[in-house]
């Protein structure tokens, strides 16, 4: 961090900044040693080493690379939408890639949002439309990023646009095909979290952007038997294209914003992941009225399967007693994940409140471990649920849920009273953990990001560089980095957008000149360096004679990608790779200075 300051001082005095060398006496000596005499000896050694090194330093100038001023945003949830709009409104092109047929993400599924209880759809939909209409945003829904090559300012991205089986240029979104599809209510409805069904040709939800259907080939009769074609008959625009194929699109991109969001942990049986043991005792998947947080959002939503009436999925009756269980999977090292999912305390309070607002004589119980309501207006919100809406909070865990005569017997513990509690509930809502997307690791490998053991992407510095990843030019937004609520996701998205805009502010990008360099005359072309390079910076270069015949193939360093780690330098058998500013001669001289 301080090197920059001193290099700048050098430059100000007319010296090449790369002739500046620092003997780090503070971190390497005075802060870590208690013995003053020995410490001073070491300090003298460190200075001697630095002197030997600086004697052999050569003037260097930064590498300059051009910048493509176009951003790729991966994920069209609220984070991706916000980042896209910010970048586009600043006057730069954006390619927004969304895996699902519509943008909107999880926020579009929510009923109301905490702590203000405003309608999620109402505040989100205008943003979605803005994205669709923005002249600078190229929206690619039902598409996935397949490959990323290149480096900061100069990425080449391949995107797979999956076949919708609908000609987007012809479709007007009239919805006739959806209405007439004979597979009316058979396919699993992802948007309604399995609480309703959808036809084979569908628009995920009425406010979808774009309002263009997609045919689910796994359930469509035509793809199963070759018959039906009802949609073809009713479509007046000849927009149904059964033979449509996936297409690959390549884009030149300068900056990438990753905003792929989260997935709610499904707890029905022991999941595949080894560290998770599952919660068989809660009967999720076995009992219809034991639902997860997103399912309850749909039940409470005016656009949901019950039109906003709180009804049990099993028999459509109004539940008179609901038990909400927090931390299902979160903060549970023995069965789930050790992290806190952060949003559940708030959304459970919201759920309980929404229930009480709709079922006045209903009873709502919440089992919690701690109430974590840090945020503007958050604790007040929880207090409101407890004090005004009379939601009963019980501190303790639930050990078992089972069905008895149409009731769900919830056995738990009240750890404040020190007593076991049994509640005969009509419905149970589990606040299940937020987890990384199932294909998060795959995308991390495609884009070049590191991730933690749960699959959340790692930022470079948890405090001072929270939206950057270790690959330059790639930024994070939203819950793909860690569990987050909407305000935080939006703030992070704007931060990621502004980081991209910083990049787009200059035409040329300066890179540190301390990168590897190949001595072409002695490189034998063994490509050991290529095998060990973590940044894919080693390329093959053909050396030709005057007639244009290839004489030999040697390694060449892409200075845009090289991070100057020196691994190639260490493994090169012919010592033909040199790290500029860290050459062998300097290192030997430093070692000798110690003698």
């Amino acid at each position: 961090m301080h090197e920059k300051t001193f290099r700048k001082a050098c430059a100000d005095s007319g010296l090449n900044p790369f002739l500046c060398e620092i003997a780090n006496l503070r971190e390497h000596c005075s802060w870590v040693h208690e013995d003053i005499v020995e410490g001073t000896k070491k300090a003298i050694d460190l200075v001697r080493i630095a002197v030997e090194r600086v004697k052999r330093n050569v003037p260097l100038s930064p590498i300059q690379v051009p910048v493509t001023k176009k951003a790729l945003v991966i994920g069209g949830g609220i984070s991706g939408i916000q980042a896209s709009l910010d970048i586009a409104n600043a006057g730069f092109d954006v390619v927004l890639v969304e895996k699902q047929p519509s943008i909107g993400g999880h926020m579009s599924q929510l009923s109301e949002t905490f702590p203000t209880l405003d309608c999620s759809q109402c505040i989100l939909t205008p943003r979605m439309v803005e994205v669709y209409q923005h002249p600078r945003i190229k929206l690619l829904t039902y598409s996935e990023v397949e490959n990323v090559e290149g480096f900061i300012g100069n990425f080449k991205v391949t995107i797979r646009k999956k076949a919708r089986s609908i000609d987007e240029s012809k479709c007007t979104g009239c919805g006739l095909c959806v209405q007439k599809c004979p597979i009316k209510k058979k396919a699993y409805n992802e948007f309604e979290e399995g609480l309703a069904f959808r036809p084979a040709v569908y628009v995920p939800f009425p406010q979808a952007v774009p309002n263009i259907p997609v045919i689910d080939r796994t359930v469509c009769t035509y793809y199963q038997t070759g018959k039906c074609q009802m949609c073809v008959k009713v479509c007046g625009r000849e927009a149904i294209k059964f033979d449509q194929e996936d297409t690959l699109i390549t884009e030149d991109i300068g900056a990438i914003v990753v905003a792929t969001g989260y997935k709610l942990y499904t707890i029905d049986k022991k999941p595949d992941a080894q560290e998770i043991k599952g919660y068989g005792e809660y009967g999720y998947g076995k009992y219809k009225d034991v639902v997860d947080g997103l399912q309850f959002e749909r039940i409470a939503s005016a656009s949901g399967p019950t039109s906003g009436e709180i009804l049990r999925p099993s028999d459509n009756s109004v539940p008179k007693k609901i038990v909400f269980i927090q931390c299902v999977g979160s903060r549970d090292e023995s069965k789930g994940f050790s992290y806190c999912s952060k949003i559940c305390c708030m959304y459970t309070a919201k759920h309980a409140m929404l229930y009480k607002h709709k079922v006045h004589d209903g009873e709502a119980y919440v089992f919690y471990m701690d109430i974590r309501a840090g945020g503007k207006g958050y604790d007040e919100f929880v207090r409101r649920a407890i004090e005004e809406d009379n939601v009963k909070y019980i501190r303790g865990r639930v050990s078992r849920i089972y069905e008895e005569n149409g009731k769900y017997i919830v056995k738990g513990e009240d750890t404040i009273a020190g007593m076991p509690v049994v509640i005969d509930a009509d419905m149970v809502v589990l606040a299940t953990a937020i987890t990384a997307q199932p294909d998060a690791v795959k995308l991390a490998q495609t884009v070049g990001m590191s991730y933690d053991k749960y699959g959340f992407y790692n930022e470079v510095h948890p405090k001072l560089r929270p939206v950057e990843v270790s690959t330059a030019g790639v930024f994070l937004a939203g819950a793909c980095q860690a569990p987050k609520d909407i305000p935080e996701s939006v703030a992070m998205a704007s931060a990621a957008a502004s980081k991209s805009l910083v990049l787009f502010g200059s035409d040329l990008l300066e890179r540190e000149p301390t990168v590897a360099k190949v001595n072409e005359s002695i490189c034998a072309g063994c490509f050991y360096c290529q095998k060990v390079c973590a940044y894919n910076a080693i390329e093959r270069k053909e050396i030709k004679d005057r007639q244009g015949n290839v004489v030999k193939v040697i390694a060449s360093v892409n200075s845009g990608l090289c991070q100057g780690c020196g691994t190639c330098n260490a493994v090169c058998p012919s010592k033909s790779v040199e790290l500029v500013g860290f050459n062998d001669e300097q290192i030997y001289a430093q070692i000798n200075a110690l003698g």
Binding site: K269, G278, G283
Partner: protein
């Protein structure tokens, strides 16, 4: 096929019929049980409630015997023994300080690759197809509530059951012999365990709930895999009856006894006559003569 056999104390006392039926069934299924020579108590609840080292050393002693008999797999039909053997073995394997202590104390340590299996795993090893092929008595229509209790499935880190809170492996075996497992709610609840002696009222309360739930879900019989569970559910039914008169008896059978019945063994050969609660209602329904 051959496995080491660690009966444990209960199977020589209150759970005699468990040992009896296991040996009969195993021999019919071609599974040779080689009993550990001079085996000793696993320490059960008493040891780990009083002295941790003892609770590891007692099972370790038995596992060392298995090593000397060149047995790399030991079946422990008692759920508590199984639990203690697995816990001790894991501790010695993963904690070098514990391993050293055992070495000092016993002059040897258990084999690292020792595999300890419970009764359900033993039958799984024999194979469901193999068991199904030996079925002689039609048990169709017999509804069985499979009761796992606490120690067989917990702690999940050690036992590695299909799902510690909602296991189904015993049900699979019941299906293999032609009977019908019932869906019920108390399959992994506690029966009260060793409180049976000092706090009978706890066991009466807990065991009553288990039996009632099995009844509510239409079970003709409760199948157990633990001598402690058996003694609580079977023996304490009289005490439950005393407090809540007018109840019907619920037969409680060991998994081995039930499989034995399906294989055509006589109730007496399997030790059903040693139960406190009559098994006649079950035998009548299955049309098995006593």
């Amino acid at each position: 096929m051959k496995v080491g056999y660690y009966p444990g104390c209960s199977l020589t006392g209150t759970g005699k019929e468990y040992d009896l039926s296991l040996r009969k069934v195993a021999s019919l299924l071609g599974m040779e049980l080689e009993e550990l020579n001079d085996w000793s108590c696993c320490g059960a609840t008493s040891a780990h409630a009083t002295n941790h080292l003892l609770s590891v050393a007692l099972p370790a002693r038995n596992l060392i015997i298995a090593k000397h008999q060149l047995l790399n797999e030991v079946a422990a039909p008692c759920a508590a023994c199984y639990n203690r053997l697995v816990s001790a073995s894991t501790e010695i394997k993963t904690d070098s300080a514990a391993e050293r202590e055992i070495m000092e104390l016993l002059g040897d340590t258990p084999a690292n690759d020792i595999n300890i299996i419970n009764i359900v795993e033993l039958f799984e090893k024999i194979g469901k197809e193999n068991i199904a092929s030996k079925v002689k008595v039609d048990l169709k229509g017999i509804k069985a509530a499979c009761y796992y209790g606490c120690l067989l499935v917990r702690p999940p880190k050690l036992t590695n059951f299909d799902d510690a809170e909602n296991p189904v492996s015993m049900e699979e075996l019941i299906k293999a012999v032609g009977a019908e497992p019932v869906e019920w709610n108390y399959k992994v609840e506690c029966c009260g365990g060793s409180h049976s002696i000092a706090h009978k009222e706890i066991v009466v309360d807990l065991s009553k709930k288990i039996i009632d739930d099995a009844k509510l879900h239409g079970a003709d019989v409760i199948i157990v895999a633990c001598p402690m569970c058996h003694s609580n559910l079977d023996m304490r039914q009289r005490a439950i009856k005393k407090e809540f008169p007018g109840r019907d008896d619920m037969p409680v059978l060991y998994l081995t006894e039930f499989i034995g019945l399906a294989m055509g063994l006589k109730p007496k050969e399997l030790g059903l006559n040693l139960h406190m609660i009559e098994t006649k209602s079950l035998l009548d329904k299955a049309e098995i003569k006593g």
